[in-house]
Point group: C2
Chain length 304, copies 2
């Protein structure tokens, strides 16, 4: 039995953090993955964060931040001829994943069961838990326009629109998936990966009992998704600003109000370690696109 690590993950950043822990020996790793990005696209239940985590742990992640690497596009090429919006691109192998998920959910499987089977197909041995088996749909509020589904905002609009509010439709009646609360309770270390706090992590913390369980966890460490106040990719800084959160490290700590024991910031932000944010601030290299860098960070996070 190794050290029990439970990591909360959105898409790319969280998946890379997971890959770092998975590379270590003697770590018993559980991933709790955001489902707020899930949607129905072309009639299929897509779960982009779950797939990104599994494809990344399998070493097959698409280099653009979604899908399977070097996937072919025969279906999308054919679909482009039809009168339907095709801004959500899905490769052929990725279509198979989404078809399997959709079919099995219709058969009555839970999203957890589907995800376990998917991980096995891709040879991933990490325990992957959807945050919930119940539907949660992240929506963002665009000033002067109204609420948009997450994928419309993120993919179709390329997250260029300003956001001044977020909500997680369905979350009040959603339950944590089986094993989620236990994985947080039992963990020697709970890590919040370098994901977008409002868009990728809040949809999990908003599930009843999850935030409370996080507060009682043995040790909760967040890796800041901001380096010099900016994310490597994506709109985290803009969304946090739009929601009235402070900039930089202070904003990340505020986003996880009361949950964190520690926050890890990149050496670029070493001066932040002088801030009084009510949590321990550690300075460690957080650029983890490289698997060795991710493993090095994971290894340091295990040290108290």
């Amino acid at each position: 039995m190794g050290v029990k690590v439970t990591a909360l993950s959105g898409g790319v950043g969280g998946a890379r953090m997971l890959r770092g822990f998975a590379a270590l020996e003697d770590v018993d790793l559980t991933a709790i993955v955001n489902v707020g990005d899930d949607d129905v696209i072309y009639g299929l239940h897509v779960a982009p964060d779950i797939d990104t985590v599994i494809y990344t742990l399998a070493g097959q992640e698409g280099l653009a931040g979604w899908g399977v690497r070097d996937d072919t596009v025969a279906v999308m090429t054919a679909l482009d001829r039809f009168p339907i919006d095709t801004w959500f691109r899905i490769g052929d192998i990725d279509f198979a994943t989404n078809l399997f998920r959709t079919a099995r959910l219709q058969d009555g499987w839970t999203l957890s069961q589907v995800t376990t089977a998917e991980a096995a197909v891709f040879g991933v041995e990490v325990t992957i838990l959807p945050a919930s088996d119940d539907p949660i749909r992240t929506e963002v509020h665009i000033p002067g326009e109204g609420w948009l589904p997450f994928q419309t905002y993120f993919v179709d609009r390329q997250h260029l629109s300003p956001v001044d509010d977020v909500r997680f439709v369905g979350v009040e009646s959603a339950r944590p998936a089986p094993g989620v609360l236990e994985a947080i309770e039992d963990a020697d270390l709970v890590v919040i990966g370098p994901s977008n706090p409002p868009l990728s992590i809040w949809p999990m913390l908003a599930i009843p009992d999850v935030a409370d369980t996080m507060m009682e966890a043995r040790r909760v460490v967040a890796v800041s998704p901001l380096i010099g106040g900016r994310p490597i990719k994506g709109p985290a800084d803009k969304v946090m600003e739009g929601l009235g959160l402070p900039g930089g490290t202070a904003g990340v700590v505020a986003a996880y109000d009361g949950i964190l024991d520690e926050i890890v910031v990149d050496p670029v932000d070493a001066s932040d370690s002088a801030l009084d944010l009510g949590v321990r601030i550690r300075v460690l290299p957080t650029r983890i696109s490289d698997i060795d860098a991710a493993a090095a960070l994971a290894s340091r996070l295990l040290e108290e």
Copy 2:
């Protein structure tokens, strides 16, 4: 304004008959297509007869009797790795068609609207009408076993099981799709293609008002799907026998009880023209896999 021809069609045989009429000038052709074979496969609404008709009229039909010719199989190859039955094979281009259909039905389009758009994508100018926009599901009864969905019987079991009854779930409350009754009423000629009578044509005749409208049509001609008592492909003879219908031409006429003015039989069955079946019996070449043969037959059918 040409001669108005309305043809009832199942899959391959009916599609080839349609292709013959479509090759003629001065024919205003409407196809009414069986939807009893429709099912939900991998979460998608498949409509095999509609697709076969459209792909055939586009000159892109798969040579095995389903799907698109020379289609690639990237999705199926990936799906084969998942724990799910994959006996229903769908090529990549064909997946796009089924994804479009499924997505648009979820958007609230009718099957008729989806089908019109699909035909346009494939450059098909024939009017293609699903027999109904409401769900009708053909099931076959296997002695000693019970009722099977059509696709399970036809594809998974390769129609090897004996059949002693058929039913069309939902048909009592199904309505003919917009234009179906009018196309039968207004036609100078209504043709029932060389399709399997119980499995491909009955699901249409069982829709309320369709059989009655057929009986009042100006002229209804069926092309027998049997040559020397056997279909070119498929289980028509076995199913008809299992249902207690006579063999050969007499069985086809009985299957269309009271609806036909004429039946067309192949020269192989020329001796059947001496039978007293209460309808005119014409002898014409009915092997129409070749488009010229199909056009020749269509041209002869136009002659009263």
